[in-house]
Symmetry: C2
Subunit: 412 residues, 2 copies
């Protein structure tokens, strides 16, 4: 976390991964991010993984450093309140992120009547307005067909919701680009991004659409091999698995040298009449190369070559589960200044990540935990919606808003 965006206020009405991640990223760069939710919590309030208390580790992770207000948005007062919060004055306010797509009172046309220079970024499913999630976009665009062990006959989807994560980061840059425009021209705008379009554009950027259309390629599964050059996983004598990379000429030369396989590679080149200096040839001959390297790894424990690999600057890593990684890898602990130990109510104590980047003008500060649902309800009603204490008390009494300390029921 840092204070780079201090003073900026962003309102977020969201659920699940992408838009919560966008708001959280802005909060970790110092913006004041207000997330509003239904009285009963958002659609993602109970998303797995959960802590033993039943509280969502997922929700806590994606809502760090935000302010939370809980509002009954079925009531006219609740709608009015959310409108006031989104469109509240302030040169560095009037920015709204959402993936909820509520037509009518919460759409751009309506909200921008209350603040002409509103910036609203909406993440939709697909461009037709159909619901889509990472788990549907990914199969539709072909990545699972290319993923998995060679010869495996079914598509394999990654456990990482990559499209959501990419889209969430794109929501951040879209908002900052739109705010840059507003700072210069005074003009707000309506920004729409479809999750499926993010995925479709990305596979295009990577050359996959051209490959399918120009080459008529049906790119199949190649296990854990690095596509288009050399990179492969090997099982070592200790049972651990490593990934080694020969993507660039330097990496390839280093790998051949350290494993002492130069002669065997030369024989392979001679036998096939191919030049292994060409990355594409390394890809086409990957199985033969792997057969040459496999015995080297199979005969050695990771400890036997790790230091040498580091000293030679090889690009490689050890396969770990998350549980192994948090136990073994200091980069996932407080030894990494990105992480801080946080005690989080109902969750426990573990290292929590801040913003990955380091800005020289704004030093890292400790990441803030996620709020309780409605933790900042009173504060937001006073400071942002500019209501009087009496008005705030009435809203609590009527059950239009809620906070952990004060609910209509507890007051009754």
């Amino acid at each position: 976390m840092n204070r780079l965006l201090n003073g900026m206020r962003v309102v977020e009405g969201s659920a699940f991964v992408a838009v919560p991640l966008a708001g959280m990223t802005l909060a970790q760069m110092g913006a004041e991010v207000i997330r509003f939710d239904r009285i009963e919590g958002g659609l993602d309030a109970g998303r797995w993984p959960l802590a033993p208390s039943g509280r969502s580790l997922f929700w806590a992770g994606l809502n760090k450093g935000k302010k939370s207000i809980a509002v009954d948005m079925r009531s006219p007062e609740g709608k009015e309140l959310v409108t006031r919060i989104i469109t509240a004055p302030g040169k560095d306010a009037g920015m709204f992120l959402t993936n909820l797509r509520v037509r009518g009172w919460m759409d751009y046309e309506t909200l921008s009547q209350y603040r002409r220079d509103l910036i609203m970024v909406t993440l939709t499913g697909d461009r037709h307005g159909r619901p889509q999630v990472d788990y549907t976009v990914n199969p539709a665009l072909g990545i699972p067909e290319m993923t998995g062990p060679e010869g495996h006959d079914a598509p394999v989807a990654s456990a990482l919701p990559a499209w959501d994560l990419i889209a969430g980061n794109m929501v951040v840059s879209a908002l900052l680009a739109a705010e840059r425009h507003r700072l210069r021209e005074g003009e707000g705008q309506d920004v729409e991004i479809a999750l499926k379009d993010v995925a479709a554009a990305t596979i295009g950027h990577l050359g996959m659409i051209g490959d399918a259309l120009v080459n008529q390629t049906e790119r199949g599964k190649s296990g854990n091999a690095l596509y288009g050059a050399y990179g492969q996983d090997f099982e070592c004598a200790c049972g651990r698995r490593v990934m080694v990379i020969g993507l660039t000429g330097r990496q390839w030369a280093g790998l051949v040298k350290v494993t002492g396989t130069g002669d065997a590679m030369e024989r392979l080149a001679k036998r096939t009449g191919r030049d292994l200096e060409d990355e594409g040839v390394r890809w086409e001959l990957r199985h033969e190369i792997t057969e040459i390297l496999r015995p080297w790894f199979a005969a050695r424990r990771v400890e036997e070559f790790a230091e040498q690999f580091e000293a030679r600057g090889l690009t490689w890593s050890i396969f770990r589960s998350v549980k192994q990684a948090v136990r073994e890898d200091p980069d996932l602990s407080e030894a990494n200044p990105m992480f801080s130990m946080l005690d989080q109510p109902g969750l426990g104590r573990f290292p929590v990540p801040g913003y990955p980047g380091e800005f020289s003008a704004k030093p890292r500060i400790k990441p803030a935990p996620a709020p309780e649902l409605g933790q900042h309800t009173e504060e937001i009603l006073g400071d942002v919606a500019r209501l009087t204490d009496t008005e705030i008390a009435q809203l609590f009494d009527k059950g239009v808003v809620q906070s952990p300390n004060y609910t209509a029921r507890s007051a009754a």
Copy 2:
């Protein structure tokens, strides 16, 4: 593509996915992005997939809309030239993106002597300065252990370089956030982001670190199931595979209703004493739920239920390869305004994606193709480095720079 960032100039010294994607994204939002490369082309000049001509579809995809200058950076004149281009004056210039990490003449300390308010964003491998690529970061942090068919005993890495793509988008927002700070305070800065930290932070944000430490969970493989709620792939009577989602209460109710499995689900709930309205219970009972739904899909061709699924607003999709997707899905064609057919020299004619988002204040324009290596060398030397025609001619003659039309060799 659009003109939202018109007037902004960003210089990029990069290779592979993340930083080229960042520069390309800025170019597709209207910034002038100058990529400099070695005379012989960057490390990624021949990255697969290739077109039949041997030209890289990958490179063309990730460098769309940029200007290209080819410079011999081993020569003192080449170093001086790149320095001049990076630090050229202009309120909206003086921004540099890189993943090359050249110490000395191209580091922040040196470059910022020529322009105090320089913004430089460097993407590194890991925070220790070790080389890392998507293919090494991913195994180290556990995603391949959770990916793959249930019971499969080896890690499975996705074919999508997700961490690179996330990091690239983060480079964009880091640059925009740093420029926002500079616009207000006049202060430039050095921004460093490590690819491995992007991945480590992200698994933290998703709750995986908490899950591993608080719950001591070793999250295993669950095939293509949606983690933490219900979502599953099914093979249909036509041989095609679909993904159906029951993440939210609405999605789950819709799926049960359309498939007419309400009674069977009720019996399952009664037999197990569990409440299927709870998303976590749907996850825990996913195998039993899948057994109930499987015959419904196995007995039907996709065409038989597709319309009904759409009409009921179910969240679902069909598994396709990229090749099938470009043939069948209009969202990957010019029917989607994000795509335009482009004739690209040496590559062919196919739909090329612009920026995924739509900004109401700046309409979409056709995406620009990638440059030839060195295509803008003369223009950049004149307009940005502010050299005279004589100076430019001397640099070409000495082989310090090159362009497709004029090389030292062709002049000799």
